[in-house]
Amino acid sequence: MPLPDKTCGMEEAISRIVDGATVMVGGFGVPGTPFSLIRELVRQGQKDLVIVKNDANEVGMGVDWLLANGQVRKLIASHIGLNGNAVSMMNSGKIEVEFVPQGLLAERIRAAGAGLLGVVSDIVLDAPSASGKTTVMVDGMRGILEPAIRADFALVHAERSDRFGNLCFAASARNFNPLVCMAARHTIVEAETILPVGAIAPETVHTPGPFVDAVVAIPELLGVYGVVER
């Protein structure tokens, strides 16, 4: 039996996203950020989105396009220090921002992907947002209950995908991408190269196809994917 073909047009894939959806976005800084999918989401203009991403990219890039276009109601992130716009919008109340330490963000996203309700950690966040957390005892140790972070959609950038959605990520562009693939109800992948099924060696697959719903070709590798000049 052949494996299913999940290739899909960019416009159709993004059109599945509805107003008010929670959308997870891969990437840490530039590497692994699905700029082309985000650009299409800006073009289509879905509103009131909750965006879950490690960072808010930089001004004039990626998540910042969504912020500038007024499409984001809330941002769940670990660090937005490289995007002054995002910090300003947070401070002026234009967007809500929930900060989660980076590894806990990764783990809470993964927990959703693993069908768990949450994880118990002993990482203490010294911030007002941490005061409402539930504590539990596990084997005589006090831990903090960290709920899974789920999403309706995930937007992912892969270096290579086969038509079934087996994914390979380049270098540090892997980061949150395999995790958001798992955690969303519907995962949309943009790939720099789309290969026939069978072209990726089974041992070298980073994200297995069953976690992927749509594979979209990138029409052109925009300049924003390149090395950032500062």
């Binding site: 039996m1 052949p2 494996l3 299913p4 073909d5 993964r110 959703a112 992907g113 693993a114 069908g115 768990l116 086969d162 079934f164 087996n166 798992m182 955690a183 109800r185 026939p196 099924v197 069978g198 990726i200 089974p202 041992e203 697959v205 297995p208 196809g209 069953p210 976690f211």
Partner: protein, 218 residues
């Protein structure tokens, strides 16, 4: 169970597998369903130990010592196979990425309860992966003989054995019938060729809902 009846059950169960699905097949009868799935149907088979895109079972002479499925069969890779660790494999299961699982059963109740993993005092090998599959696959169907070797019904009012999953079975394929578990109870929806409703009812340990209209056969 005549060979013919068994074959028809498997062939009917195979129609449960649809294009595009990721499917996990339990050991025993469910695995045998595979022979009746069209060869060109695009489907991804999952194995709990960490394979998506499980290929055909190989003869020992051609086997890869490092490639077995969860039942210990020497399987093969196909175009697009991937391997992953057992945590990722069950993330797929619990995270809702298994569209369908076909499982065997010791008992199934009219409410969709499944008992398949332990017979206290007799058969206590451990849960393996069945519990998570039965509780978390998006759709759970059972493939089983209608009665056990002693002729006792396997579809019962209430399972006597410890449960694998409570209320998750959506459909039961047997050598006599196809039964859907609906909110009102177990509903007889198809009959094996040559089997009457009365015969099914006599071989079933719980009251079946039966439509007034004629039932399709398989």
């Amino acid at each position: 169970m005549s060979l013919n009846a068994s074959e028809r059950m498997l062939r009917r169960a195979a129609r449960e597998i649809r294009a595009g699905m990721t499917v996990n097949l339990g050991i025993g009868l469910p695995t045998k369903v595979l022979a009746y799935v069209p060869h060109d149907l695009p489907v991804c088979l999952h194995s709990e130990n960490g394979i998506a895109g499980v290929g055909p079972v190989l003869d020992r002479a051609y086997a890869n010592r490092n490639l077995i499925d969860a039942g210990g069969a020497y399987v093969s890779a196909i175009d697009g196979t991937s391997y992953f660790d057992s945590a990722v494999s069950f993330a797929m299961v619990r995270g809702g990425r298994i569209d369908l699982t076909l499982l065997g059963a010791f008992e199934v109740s009219g409410g969709g309860d499944l008992a398949s993993w332990i017979i206290p005092g007799k058969f206590t090998p451990g849960a393996g992966g069945a519990i998570e599959l039965a509780q978390k696959a998006r759709r759970v169907a059972v493939v089983t003989t209608h009665v056990d070797k002693a002729g006792r019904p396997k579809i019962v009012d209430k399972c006597a054995l410890p449960l694998t999953a409570r209320g998750h079975v959506a459909r039961i394929f047997t050598d006599m019938a196809v039964i859907d578990i609906v909110p009102e109870g177990p509903r007889l929806i198809e009959l094996a060729e040559g089997i009457s409703i009365a015969e099914v009812e006599a071989a079933t340990g719980t009251r079946l809902l039966v439509a007034d209209t004629p039932l399709p056969t398989f």
